[in-house]
Symmetry: C2
Subunit: 253 residues, 2 copies
Amino acid sequence: MQKPLILITNDDGWDAPGLRKLINIARKLGDVAVVAPDKPQSGMSHAITMSHPLRLKKIAEEEGYREYSCNGTPVDSIKLGEQIVLGRNPDLVLSGINHGSNASVNIIYSGTMAAVIEATIDGIPAIGISLLDYSHAADFSHVDEYVTQIIENVLQEKLPKGVCLNVNIPAKSEHEIKGIKICRQAKGRWAEKFDIRTDPYKKEYYWLTGEFEDGDTSPDTDSWALANNYVTVVPVHYDLTAHRMIEELKGWE
Amino acid sequence: MQKPLILITNDDGWDAPGLRKLINIARKLGDVAVVAPDKPQSGMSHAITMSHPLRLKKIAEEEGYREYSCNGTPVDSIKLGEQIVLGRNPDLVLSGINHGSNASVNIIYSGTMAAVIEATIDGIPAIGISLLDYSHAADFSHVDEYVTQIIENVLQEKLPKGVCLNVNIPAKSEHEIKGIKICRQAKGRWAEKFDIRTDPYKKEYYWLTGEFEDGDTSPDTDSWALANNYVTVVPVHYDLTAHRMIEELKGWE
């Protein structure tokens, strides 16, 4: 069987340890091309770059492996990877491993998951992977087994058209991981707060901060499963239609 | 009855004629606060600003009306509007009127609709409105009746928690608009192409371009209805879970 061609990106940027871990896992499973942002792109969601041109910088090239950084977003990275670096669709797209959770409503803000959704729009099987540890020095030593198993499942079983996977992994701790759980996206939210400061010229400025409010702790959610030390897999699609509302809205007329 | 408090933003930026049109319509229906990006933010999706602080600039203040620009994204604008400008949730959020379609898969890339989804996460009724004309000089003379009717419906009937509206309006033409149609998001996609150029220093750079591929022309889609000269209303939610896949994935174990 021919080796699968795997395209990898992330949103923490080219030098993130989580990206290195994912590259190491993927190279055991196929040929790998990496196109990753040259600076942190957390919170960039599905942003694309239209105001200035994009550039690619070759970092490494050897048998079965190519690595580039780019000056764009995670979604730009996928587009550049497909169109410029590979010249074709890869067999699989991986994004991450993100330093920090993309469970619950975090998926909406996530550059990691936006790259995965972009690949899905292009008809490519895709998986986003995140670790619940924001630290640059996060410990990824417990993830190999789970990440490998999920990638192998996707390569064997395929995913239906239009569906990708959002995988989140508990932070390394003394508690053993209980296994993999298929979940739905919890309905949490960020209660934003601004840190209001005054600059040396007496003008106000605002740093965005926030606290996560986990208002949905049903056992079928990713939030619940992560809190109970499971690796979570949420099947994700990009049809935002609230289908159940269509008939009700027709009644407004 | 007390006048509703309406918060308005857009993604084309503070000086876009579509924003002015929406402000004019909204001021007939309630008190209005505007927080709009100080430069174009098209294609910024749900991006939030964490790498630098945000600032607000007061543009206008009079009875029942306040207007600010900010150096952030459309989603930042909503957060600043709620937390800093108003200090409370408004009764309604409006975003637009966007110069260009946000039908079909465009919703994923849209800053206009991301602002609306952000408000929805915060529990605020919200409507995004777009005109199918990318020109800065777009003709908005035919939109008042439809936009007013949809806003009044939302103010009267409310929307269920977690659901917002994506409204698209055909460009002005000699053909009469046939009415308002409740639709689902069509499954189109952008077939991206890069315009490959060489800079004066002999290095390649890439401009993102693309062609929209409308692969889903069923009569219940927004794409079909817009092509047939209807104003479209798609109910939108932010649960990205592909629920039908949950049982199937459990079978993988």
